[in-house]
């Protein structure tokens, strides 16, 4: 029953992620409701995307915040290209890269946050899933898998937003899931 509810939730999310590009015009006119609407529609996608790169929850929160502030400040400059999410991903990625460039002392870019410090994940099974997502998948696989499973983006949308072909996206998604499944089974998680 629980699984059915989760699946339905996921389906509902996937129907809702389409962003109306007119929102940017409204935001540029100082419409806070439009800004909140954009945030609610995109927060999971952006969070999943940034977390895939940083592997660090607190850094992800900072970068996501900075991204929204930047989007609001540049909303009037937005040119309709039917790829608003791709634009936001680009901004997020550039902010992330800038952060790493400025913070040159940080040498553990690839490592991200220590698995043991994810204190908010208390479920032992989810801890294993987290470890798998961070250690078994590469950055692109993590982006694709989290954008689909958590943010609810459709494969076509992910392919468009990440600038890759649909068939490539699908094959990477399935390969990533297979890797995860194998790992989880080896760890004794029933999947």
């Amino acid at each position: 029953m629980l699984l059915l509810v989760l699946e339905q939730q996921s389906l509902v999310q996937r129907e809702d992620v389409k962003i109306d590009e007119k929102l940017f015009l409204a935001i540029s006119n100082g419409d806070n409701e439009a800004f909140e609407k954009l945030y609610l529609k995109t927060k999971k996608s952006l969070y999943a995307y940034v977390f895939s790169i940083t592997k660090d929850v607190y850094l992800t929160q900072d970068i996501v915040s900075d991204t929204y502030i930047k989007v609001r400040n540049a909303a009037h400059l937005y040119v309709e290209m039917d790829k608003p999410m791709a634009w936001m991903f680009t901004i997020a990625k550039r902010i992330t890269l800038n952060y790493y460039r400025k913070d040159s002392k940080r040498t553990e870019y690839e490592k991200g946050e220590d698995i043991n410090t994810f204190s908010y994940v208390t479920d032992p099974t989810l801890k294993i899933v987290l470890k798998a997502a961070l250690e078994i998948l590469n950055e692109e696989e993590r982006e694709i898998v989290l954008l689909h499973t958590y943010a609810g983006l459709k494969h076509r949308e992910i392919a468009l937003d990440l600038g890759i072909g649909l068939s490539t996206e699908l094959s990477k998604y399935h390969r990533a899931l297979k890797k995860l499944k194998t790992y989880l089974l080896n760890e004794g998680v029933s999947v």
Partner: protein
């Protein structure tokens, strides 16, 4: 697969959310134009190799220019090179005024000789100090009395006379130490090509000139054989091929002169020639 997907979805739902109020309350500062962050074009522009290694490339180019500059400076200024060879090879470069502009030694005593402060020395004093270093370090000794002295100059008449003066200077110093020096002395033209060849083999202009001639006369040798050969063997080879070398130099219209001091076998003949 569904279970794996659900686990992933549940996982991120456990993560703390972003504080939207903080975002909402951040000051609204509309941008005048896109910057590097918001520019929708030029997405994922990777820094070019040129940009990435800009510093290194500039340093390399500068180093090359400085090197070429020094080479040109050295060569343009060089009017005469006085070479002294024992186990150590010394090239003393003079400008057209006859002032020493550079001293470069290769081999056993290179550190001592390269450290000599030649700024206030005459050429004769520099030759004197060099030979003294070679004698004191036993490079020139009773057992090993061989020296090559050469003067290669853009001024042919100077080259013809100067080599003899320096040969005599070496002879005088070695006589004082009871060393019966065996000296090959020669004067010749200075050319950039010869200078480059000498630099290539880290040797003197005098030695490279002789090596080239010996190789021409005796085709069983290559240049490297002569350059690496002990001076005693070079001395014998030059003595045996003395006439041929002289002939070759006349044939090539090099206006070069060669003399051998204290050669036992046909020393008398040479003196007769003189």
């Amino acid at each position: 697969m569904k279970k794996t997907e659900q686990l992933l979805s549940r996982l991120l739902n456990n993560f703390p959310e972003v504080d939207f109020d903080k975002i909402k309350n951040a000051p609204y500062e509309p941008m005048h134009a896109h910057d590097d962050i918001t520019n929708p074009y030029n997405i994922e522009k990777k820094p070019s190799l040129m940009k990435k290694h800009f510093g290194r490339i500039i340093t390399f180019i500068l180093a090359v220019f400085i090197f070429i500059g020094f080479e040109i400076y050295d060569n343009k200024l060089t009017h005469t090179v006085i070479s002294i060879d024992s186990d150590t090879t010394v090239n003393i470069r003079l400008n057209s005024k006859g002032d020493i502009i550079k001293v470069k030694a290769y081999g056993k005593n290179e550190n001592t000789i390269n450290r000599i402060d030649y700024s206030n020395l005459s050429t004769k004093d520099m030759v004197n100090q060099t030979v003294n270093v070679l004698i004191l370090s036993n490079e020139i000794s009773k057992e090993n009395p061989y020296v090559i002295i050469g003067v290669n100059s853009s001024d042919k008449s100077f080259a013809k006379t100067a080599f003899d003066i320096y040969a005599k200077e070496i002879e005088d110093i070695s006589d004082d130490k009871d060393i019966d020096c065996r000296i090959i002395s020669q004067g010749g033209n200075y050319s950039l090509a010869l200078d480059r060849l000498a630099k290539k083999y880290n040797t003197s202009l005098a030695k490279i000139s002789l090596a080239k001639e010996i190789v021409t006369i005796n085709n069983q040798y290559v240049l490297e054989d002569i350059i690496d050969m002990p001076l005693s063997q070079i001395y014998d080879l030059v003595s045996k091929n003395y006439e041929a070398i002289k002939e070759l130099r006349q044939k090539d219209k090099q206006e070069c002169i060669i003399e051998i001091f204290d050669y036992d076998e046909d020393n008398d003949d040479n003196e007769d020639d003189d």
